[in-house]
C-alpha cells in the first residue's frame, strides 16, 4: 500500500504541477471531456481529489450526507401516517365527484365505482411531540420526536416507473441525472476508497416486488463517475470487485503495479494526461477491492447492534441494508439510497401492510437511533417515503380483505430526520378524505430544493449545461421548505 501511496503522490505532483509547461494544452484536452469537473478538480485539494463544483458551498451546510429510504411501490399514508376519521366514517360510500373530477387515475380507470376505503390500521400519539403514527409502526413511533412528518407531499407521475424517475431526477423524461449524482457532482465525496453514491435494494419477500431500474441512479448527462454504484448481497458486493479465481491480493497487486509502471513509461512518450487519471483509477480500484469487503463484513458489529436492527446475517434484507447504510455513512459516502421494493398494495392491503411494516419498522428506527447515538444524525439527512402514496378509494371490493388502494399523487406522506430538520414536527395536511394536500403543500421539487439547501447548495445554482440548456435537479421549480428547518 505504501508503494501505491507514493505513486499517487508522484502522479499528483506530476499532473498538477510538473506539467505546467506542456500542461495547459493537455489539460485542456482532457477538459474537453469534462470541462467543469476538471476545472473544479484542478482547483481542489492537491492529489486530484474531486471536491465538487459547489466549492465553497452556497450556504453553510447542515448535512454532509443523505440517506434516502425509498419505500418503492408507494406506501399507504392512510394506514401509516395520515389518520382520516371521516374517510373511515364514509367507508363503502362513493367518493364525492367533486373530489376526483379531472384527476388522473391509474388502475382505477377500469373500475366502475370509486368508494371510500377507511384506514385498515389504528393510530396512536407517539413521543413528547405526540405525533400521530400508525400502531403498526411502534418503532418509528419510538423516534417520533426525532422526525418531521410531511403529510402534504405531491408528485406528478402516477405510475411507478415514471414516478420513481420523477422522484429521483425531477422529471419523467429518461436521461437526466439522479439526485445522488447531482449531489456528488456538486459536493464531491469525503471518501477516497468508496464511490460517493451507493445504492442498496431489498425485498420483504411477501409479495411480487416493484422493479427498480438502474435509471434511478444513473448520472444522465453528468460524467459517469457520479453514477450510483449498487451494493449486492450475493456475489461480489460491487461488480467485479473480487479478484479472478486463482488470483490473490498480492498477485492482483503485481498485475496492477505492472500495468501502472508500463502506463507511466508510455506517458513519457505520449504525454497523455489521461494516463495519470487511469493510474489513479487503478489504484482506487485496488483500494476498493479492500475497502468494499471490509465495508460489508459486519462481523465487527456487536450483537446488540445487530439485534437492534434485526439483522440476522448478510442476507440483503432491508435490516441488513439499513445497517450498511450506517456503515457507509461512517465512511463518508455522500449519498446512500435504499430501495425496499414491496410497497405496492393494489390488493390484500390489510395483510400486506402488516407484513411490510414488520419488515421495515424496526430497522428504520434502529438506523435513526444508531446514527443519533453516534452523533451522526446531526449531519446526516434521512428521508423516508415512496414515489407516491395510495388512494382513499378502494381498489377491488371494499368489503373484502383483498381490497387494496391504487396509486395516488395528490397527497401523500414522507418524513425527514436529522441534518438540519426540525424534530418532532408534523407539517402540512390533506383534506378530510385524505385526497388532496391542502395545507403547506410540498412538491417533489420542493423536497429536492430543501435537501440541496441542507447540503449547502442553492438548487437554482447547481446547473449543468446540456443541449444548450442549463439543467437543474429542480427543473424550473422548487422552493426550500423553510418551516421544517431546525
Amino acid at each position: 500500500m505504501l508503494n501505491f501511496e507514493f505513486q499517487r503522490e508522484l502522479i499528483a505532483r506530476r499532473s498538477f504541477l510538473g506539467r505546467a509547461s506542456l500542461g495547459i494544452g493537455s489539460m485542456a484536452l482532457a477538459g474537453l471531456l469534462e470541462p467543469r469537473v476538471l476545472a473544479a478538480a484542478a482547483g481542489a485539494k492537491s492529489g486530484g481529489g474531486y471536491a465538487g463544483v459547489v466549492n465553497p458551498r452556497h450556504f453553510a451546510p447542515k448535512a454532509k450526507r443523505v440517506i434516502f429510504l425509498c419505500m418503492a411501490g408507494g406506501p399507504s399514508q392512510l394506514e401509516l401516517f395520515d389518520e382520516k376519521p371521516k374517510l373511515s366514517a364514509m367507508n363503502g360510500q362513493p367518493v364525492p365527484e367533486s373530489v376526483t373530477k379531472g384527476q388522473p387515475i391509474a388502475q382505477l380507470q377500469s373500475q366502475k365505482e370509486l368508494l371510500c376505503f377507511g384506514s385498515q390500521s389504528t393510530f396512536g400519539h407517539f413521543g413528547h411531540s405526540g405525533q400521530v403514527i400508525s400502531n403498526y409502526l411502534p418503532h418509528i413511533g419510538g423516534i417520533a420526536d426525532d422526525i418531521c412528518i410531511v403529510r402534504s407531499m405531491q408528485t406528478e407521475q402516477i405510475n411507478h416507473d415514471p414516478a420513481h424517475t420523477f422522484m429521483n431526477t425531477g422529471t419523467a423524461i429518461s436521461g437526466r441525472p439522479s439526485m445522488g449524482a447531482w449531489v456528488n457532482y456538486g459536493l464531491g465525496t469525503d471518501c477516497a476508497d468508496l464511490p460517493g453514491f451507493v445504492v442498496l435494494t431489498s425485498r420483504a419477500g411477501t409479495r411480487s416486488p416493484q422493479p427498480v431500474s438502474s435509471r434511478q441512479w444513473h448520472s444522465g448527462f453528468l460524467p459517469g463517475k457520479f453514477q450510483g454504484v449498487p451494493l449486492h448481497s450475493t456475489g461480489d458486493p460491487v461488480h467485479y470487485v473480487g479478484n479472478p479465481p486463482g488470483v490473490d491480493r498480492r498477485r492482483q497487486q503485481d498485475v496492477i503495479s505492472t500495468v501502472n509502471k508500463l502506463n507511466r513509461m508510455r506517458d513519457a512518450v505520449e504525454h497523455n494526461p489521461e494516463i495519470a487519471t487511469r493510474i489513479a483509477q487503478y489504484e482506487l480500484a485496488f483500494r476498493m477491492q479492500m475497502s468494499v469487503p471490509e465495508l460489508v463484513n459486519i462481523a465487527d458489529e456487536p450483537q446488540h447492534v445487530l439485534d437492534s436492527y434485526g439483522v440476522t446475517g448478510a442476507d440483503g434484507s432491508y435490516a441488513y441494508n439499513c445497517l450498511l447504510a450506517r456503515r457507509l455513512a461512517e465512511r463518508g459516502v455522500r449519498f446512500i439510497h435504499l430501495y425496499h421494493r414491496d410497497w405496492d398494495f393494489h390488493d390484500g392491503l390489510r395483510q400486506h401492510i402488516v407484513d411490510l411494516c414488520q419488515s421495515a419498522d424496526q430497522p428504520t428506527a434502529a438506523l435513526i437511533k444508531d446514527l443519533k447515538q453516534r452523533g451522526m444524525l446531526d449531519d446526516t439527512l434521512v428521508i423516508w417515503g415512496g414515489e407516491f402514496g395510495r388512494t382513499p378509494m378502494a381498489q377491488g371490493d371494499v368489503t373484502q380483505a383483498k381490497a387494496g388502494r391504487d396509486h395516488h399523487i395528490r397527497g401523500f406522506t414522507m418524513w425527514l430526520a436529522g441534518g438540519g430538520i426540525k424534530r418532532g414536527m408534523s407539517y402540512g395536511a390533506t383534506d378530510d378524505l385524505g385526497y388532496h394536500a391542502v395545507e403547506n403543500v410540498v412538491h417533489v421539487n420542493d423536497l429536492h430544493a430543501t435537501m440541496l439547501y441542507l447540503l449547502g447548495i442553492d438548487h437554482e445554482r447547481l446547473t449543468y449545461r446540456y443541449q444548450g440548456r442549463d439543467f437543474r435537479l429542480t427543473d424550473v421549480a422548487g422552493k426550500v421548505v423553510r418551516d421544517i428547518l431546525a
Binding site: 509547461s21 506542456l22 494544452g25 489539460m27 485542456a28 484536452l29 477538459g31 474537453l32 469534462e34 388522473p104 387515475i105 391509474a106 388502475q107 380507470q109 405510475n159 416507473d161 429518461s174 436521461g175 435494494t201 411480487s208 422493479p211 431500474s213 438502474s214 435509471r215 459517469g224 463517475k225 449486492h232 460491487v238 461488480h239 467485479y240 470487485v241 473480487g242 479472478p244 479465481p245 486463482g246 488470483v247 498477485r251 503485481d254 498485475v255 496492477i256 505492472t258 500495468v259 508500463l262 513509461m265 508510455r266 505520449e270 489521461e274 494516463i275 487519471t277 487511469r278 483509477q281 487503478y282 480500484a285 430501495y339 391504487d406 396509486h407 442553492d458 443541449q467 444548450g468 440548456r469
Partner: protein, 828 residues
C-alpha cells in the same frame, strides 16, 4: 461554385469578414477570411447571440409565455422597438440596463441568478450596436452553400525547409507549409485556418499507428500483426488508400457504423419502462448494418426508416426499417393510461427525430415555446402530428403480457441478415442451375439435379426461419392537439395538422394531409439547412475527435457556432452532391493529410489551440465500450465474426437483474460461439445495461445520444481486471502465446504478445517489466498449482490440453496486464 453565390452567402451572414481572401506578401497560404479581424464589427451569430441567449432570452426570447416587459431581444423587430437604438449604444436601454449599478435596474436581475455581463461582453454589445445592431438568422438555419476552397500557394524557397521541419515534427509557428501537404480539400480548409493562426500541421503518424487508427475508426477492430506488417511493407504510393478501400468494403464496417446510429435512434432490445421486457426488433438491427455495408444513400436510409411503409410496394427491408418509429421506450404497466402514453410516445418521437436528423432541441417546446430557438409550442405538436398515424396502442397493457419477449404489435415476420444472405446465395445458385437445365443431358446432370433438390430444400428451410420484428403500419391519423403545459389531460388546446416549422421550408402537399414520407423527404431535401450539416459534423467527430461544431446534439442557437463553418458547409454540400454517399464522406475524411497526422501534442500548438479545434494534430481518445470488448476478443483469438442474426449474452454478474420484475428473470449467458461475438449484438437491457458496457460509457439508449462521454473510473478498471470475459480473453491470449508460434524463449514470446495486443514493438524496458511479472508468477503458480488451475478455468473456451497449467497461468497474468494498458484501450 461561383463568386456570386458565395458573395450572397457572405452578405446574409453579415460582418463575418468582407473579403474573400487576404493575400499577404511572403505568406504562403492564403485563405478565406475566416479570421474575423479584431477591429471588425462583432458578428451577431458569433459574438452577440451567445450573450443574449445566455443572459436574456429566458425572459426576453422566443417564449411568449414567460416574456417580461413585452420585450424580445431575439428578433430585430422586437429589440429595436425601444430597447436597442441601432448605431447608438449609449442611447440604448439595453446598455443602460446591463451596466447599471442599481440592483433594481440592472439586467439580468438578481432573481434570475444569472451573473452580470462581463466588461468584455458589454464592450461587444456596445460595438455591435454602434456598428448598426445588425441581426442575422442563426447560421444553421440558413441552407449551406458551397464555399470556395481556399487556394494554397507556396513560396518555392520555403517549401523545402518546411518539408524538413515537418519530417522532424518541429515547431512550425510562423513557418511555411509545403505545397504537397494538402491531399484533398479538407486539408486546404484546415491548412488555411492553421496558417491564419501561424501554425502548421503535425507530421504524419507512423504506419503502425495509422493502421490501428484506421481499423478502429472504420471497422471497430484492431489489425493483426500480419496486417500491420503487410501495410508497413507496402510501398505502393496508394497503399494507404487501398487499405481504406479494403476496410470500407469489410462487413465489419457496417457493424461499426451501426453502433453510431443505434446511439442516435436509441436502439435497444428491451421496452425500457417498468418491466423492461425483451422486445422483437433484431431484423431492424440487421437492416441498419446492411444499409451501411451496402452504402445506402443517407437520404434513402432516412426515408426508409421514417416512412418505408408509405413507399410504393415496399420491400421487406423497407418495412423492417420502419422499426425506427417503434424502438422508443414503451410500457404496459398496469395503470398506465392510453392517452397519457400516446402523448409520451409522440413527444419521444419528436425529440428523437429532431435530435437525430436536425440536432434540434424541439423537445424543449413540448410545454411552452422554445426559449432560444424559434420553435413554437404549436410547432412541436405539428411535428408530432406527422407521427399521428403510428400508434395503435398507448399502453400496450391489452396486448403485451409479462412474457419474454413481450408483444408490441404491429409486428411482421422478417429474416435476419445471415438467413437473408444465405437465401440470396441459394437463389443465385438455383438460377445458375436452372439456366444449365436448358441443355444436354451430360455426365453432370445427375449431380446438378441432386444439388438442385438439396438447394430447394434448403431454401424452404431458410424461408421458415423468419422472426417477428416491430414495424410501422399507418392507421387513420389520430387528432393531435396542442397540450397546454404539456398536460395530456388538458383538451383545451387547438387541433393541429402536420406541418414543418414556420422558419423553415413549408411542405406543399395541396389538400393532402402531409405525412411521414413528406417529412422524411423534407429532411433530406437540398434546401434543408440542418440534416447534411448534422451528419457530416457527427462523422467528423468520429474521425477527428471533436465536432466542427462541438455540441453534436444541438445545432440550434445554444449549440456552438462552428469553428470552421466554411469547411462544415463544404462537407455538407459535398455530402448532398455525392447523393448522400456515406462512404464517400468517410473516405474523404480519412484520406486527408490532416487525418494522418500524429496525435502526439506539440506544446506550442496546444497552448494556442488547447481544444485542438484547428486539427493541427490528430486527437486521441479512449476506445468505445464495444471496441474495448471486441478488441480483447480479437487479440486473444476468441472473436467470432458472424454478421447479424441472434442477440448474444456475455457473462454477467449473477443476480444483476434481480431488481427487475414482471417477470422476474434469470440471465443465461450465451454458449458456444455466441459468447464471443461483437458487442453490437449484445442484448441491450435498457434498465440494466451490461455492467462492462456501462462502465465504459455506453448509453442505456433511453434517449438520443449524439456524443458519448468518456469517463475514467475505478469501476471501469475493475471490469478490465476482473470481468470473466476479459480474464478469459487473457487466458486465451496466453494459450495463443504458448501455442501459436514456435518460439521457445520468454523474451521472444513477450515481444510477440506485445505486438499482438498493441501493434507496435515493445521497448526492451517494457518487455523487462512483463518478464519480471512472468517469472514471479510462474514461481508462485508452480508453488500453488490449485490457484493456477482455478485461473485458467475461467470461461467456457477450452484450454489446450497439452499446456502446462502453471505456465499458462503465469502468461495469463502477463496477458491481463496487456489488456489493461491505457494504450490498449486508446486510439492514437
Amino acid at each position: 461554385m461561383g463568386e456570386s453565390l458565395r458573395d450572397s452567402h457572405r452578405v446574409r451572414r453579415g460582418g463575418r469578414g468582407h473579403t474573400a481572401a487576404v493575400w499577404a506578401a511572403g505568406c504562403v497560404v492564403v485563405a478565406l477570411a475566416q479570421v474575423a479581424a479584431a477591429e471588425d464589427a462583432p458578428s451577431f451569430n458569433r459574438d452577440i447571440r451567445p450573450i443574449l441567449a445566455n443572459s436574456c432570452f429566458v425572459c426576453h426570447g422566443p417564449d411568449s409565455g414567460t416574456r417580461e416587459a413585452e420585450l424580445r431581444l431575439d428578433t430585430e423587430e422586437g429589440a429595436t422597438e425601444w430597447a436597442i437604438v441601432a448605431g447608438d449604444a449609449e442611447g440604448s436601454e439595453v446598455i443602460a440596463r446591463v451596466t447599471s449599478d442599481d440592483p433594481e435596474v440592472r439586467m439580468p436581475p438578481a432573481k434570475s441568478k444569472k451573473p452580470p455581463l462581463t466588461p468584455e461582453q458589454i464592450e461587444l454589445l456596445r460595438k455591435w450596436i454602434n456598428a448598426g445592431a445588425e441581426y442575422e438568422p442563426h447560421w444553421a438555419y440558413i441552407p449551406p452553400e458551397r464555399p470556395p476552397v481556399p487556394e494554397v500557394r507556396v513560396a518555392a524557397s520555403a517549401a523545402a525547409d518546411a518539408d524538413a521541419s515537418l519530417r522532424h515534427g518541429e515547431s512550425s509557428i510562423g513557418e511555411t507549409r509545403p505545397l504537397d501537404w494538402p491531399r484533398n480539400d479538407i486539408d486546404r480548409f484546415l491548412l488555411a485556418r492553421m496558417e491564419s493562426r501561424g501554425i502548421g500541421p503535425s507530421p504524419e503518424a507512423d504506419r503502425v499507428t495509422l493502421i490501428r487508427r484506421l481499423y478502429f475508426d472504420l471497422i471497430g477492430l484492431p489489425p493483426t500483426p500480419a496486417e500491420i506488417d503487410e501495410f508497413v511493407a507496402d510501398t505502393r504510393p496508394d497503399a494507404y488508400e487501398q487499405l481504406v478501400e479494403r476496410l470500407l468494403a469489410s462487413p465489419a464496417f457496417g457493424e461499426r457504423m451501426a453502433t453510431w446510429w443505434f446511439d442516435l435512434v436509441r436502439f435497444a432490445t428491451t421496452v425500457g419502462y417498468h418491466g423492461d421486457q425483451d422486445q422483437r426488433i433484431t431484423p431492424y438491427r440487421d437492416y441498419v448494418i446492411k444499409a451501411f455495408n451496402d452504402n445506402m444513400p443517407f437520404s434513402q436510409f432516412t426515408i426508409e426508416q421514417l416512412a418505408g411503409d408509405l413507399l410504393p410496394n415496399p420491400t421487406m427491408w423497407q418495412l423492417v426499417a420502419t422499426g425506427y418509429n417503434r424502438v422508443l421506450q414503451t410500457t404496459h404497466e398496469g395503470g398506465a393510461q392510453d392517452a397519457e402514453y400516446r402523448a409520451i410516445y409522440l413527444a419521444d418521437r419528436v425529440r428523437n427525430f429532431s435530435e437525430t436528423w436536425m440536432a434540434g432541441s424541439v423537445g424543449c417546446a413540448q410545454c411552452h415555446d422554445h426559449k432560444f430557438d424559434p420553435y413554437t409550442q404549436e410547432e412541436f405538436y405539428s411535428l408530432a402530428a406527422f407521427f399521428a398515424d403510428v400508434d395503435e396502442y398507448g399502453s400496450f397493457s391489452s396486448v403485451g403480457g409479462n412474457e419474454l419477449p413481450t408483444e408490441r404489435p404491429p409486428e411482421m415476420l422478417a429474416w435476419t441478415l445471415p438467413i437473408y444472405e444465405r437465401m440470396q446465395k441459394v437463389d443465385a445458385r438455383i438460377a445458375e442451375l436452372e439456366a444449365a437445365l436448358v441443355g444436354l443431358l451430360d455426365n453432370d446432370w445427375e449431380k446438378r439435379r441432386a444439388e438442385m433438390i438439396q438447394l430447394k430444400k434448403e431454401r424452404l428451410d431458410l424461408e421458415a426461419q423468419f422472426v417477428p420484428t416491430m414495424v410501422t403500419r399507418a392507421v387513420e391519423p389520430r387528432e393531435i392537439r396542442v397540450l397546454p403545459r404539456g398536460n395530456w389531460m388538458d383538451k383545451s388546446g387547438p387541433v393541429v395538422q402536420p406541418h414543418t416549422p414556420q422558419f423553415m421550408r413549408q411542405l406543399d402537399t395541396g389538400d393532402r394531409r402531409a405525412n411521414r414520407l413528406d417529412l422524411a423527404k423534407w429532411l433530406v431535401s437540398r434546401d434543408h439547412p440542418l440534416t447534411a450539416r448534422v451528419v457530416v459534423n457527427r462523422l467528423w467527430k468520429i474521425y477527428y475527435g471533436v465536432g466542427l461544431s462541438k455540441v453534436l446534439i444541438d445545432m440550434g442557437s445554444r449549440g456552438e457556432a462552428p469553428q470552421n463553418q466554411e469547411l462544415l458547409d463544404w462537407l455538407a454540400i459535398e455530402f448532398m452532391d455525392s447523393g448522400w454517399d456515406m462512404k464517400h464522406m468517410i473516405r474523404l475524411m480519412v484520406t486527408s493529410s490532416a487525418y494522418r497526422q500524429s496525435s502526439v501534442p506539440r506544446p506550442e500548438v496546444d497552448t494556442l489551440d488547447p481544444d485542438n479545434r484547428l486539427a493541427a494534430r490528430q486527437s486521441r481518445f479512449r476506445l468505445q465500450a464495444e471496441e474495448i470488448r471486441d478488441n480483447a476478443l480479437a487479440v486473444s483469438g476468441l472473436l467470432v465474426n458472424k454478421l447479424g442474426g441472434e442477440i448474444v449474452k456475455p457473462y454477467q454478474p449473477a443476480k444483476y437483474y434481480s431488481a427487475l420484475n414482471f417477470p422476474e428473470r434469470e440471465y443465461t449467458p450465451s454458449s458456444g460461439d455466441d459468447q464471443f461475438r461483437r458487442a453490437v449484438y449484445v442484448h441491450w437491457q435498457r434498465q440494466f445495461l451490461h455492467p462492462a458496457l456501462l462502465a465504459f460509457d455506453a448509453p442505456t439508449r433511453e434517449e438520443c445520444t449524439a456524443d458519448r462521454p468518456i469517463s475514467s473510473t475505478p469501476t471501469a478498471a475493475l471490469v478490465l481486471l476482473n470481468d470473466p470475459s476479459f480474464v478469459e480473453a487473457a487466458k486465451a491470449l496466453a494459450a495463443k502465446i504458448l501455442t501459436n508460434n514456435d518460439m521457445n524463449d520468454d523474451n521472444q514470446r513477450i515481444h510477440w504478445a506485445w505486438r499482438q495486443v498493441l501493434g507496435r514493438e515493445a521497448q526492451s524496458e517494457e518487455a523487462a517489466q512483463l518478464a519480471e511479472l512472468l517469472h514471479k508468477h510462474r514461481a508462485e503458480y508452480t508453488a500453488d498449482p490449485k490457484a493456477a488451475e482455478a485461473l485458467v478455468s475461467v470461461g467456457i473456451s477450452a484450454k489446450p490440453k497439452d499446456l502446462n497449467v502453471t505456465d499458462l497461468a503465469a502468461w495469463t497474468s502477463v496477458s491481463r496486464v496487456l489488456l489493461n494498458l491505457n494504450e490498449t484501450i486508446t486510439r492514437n
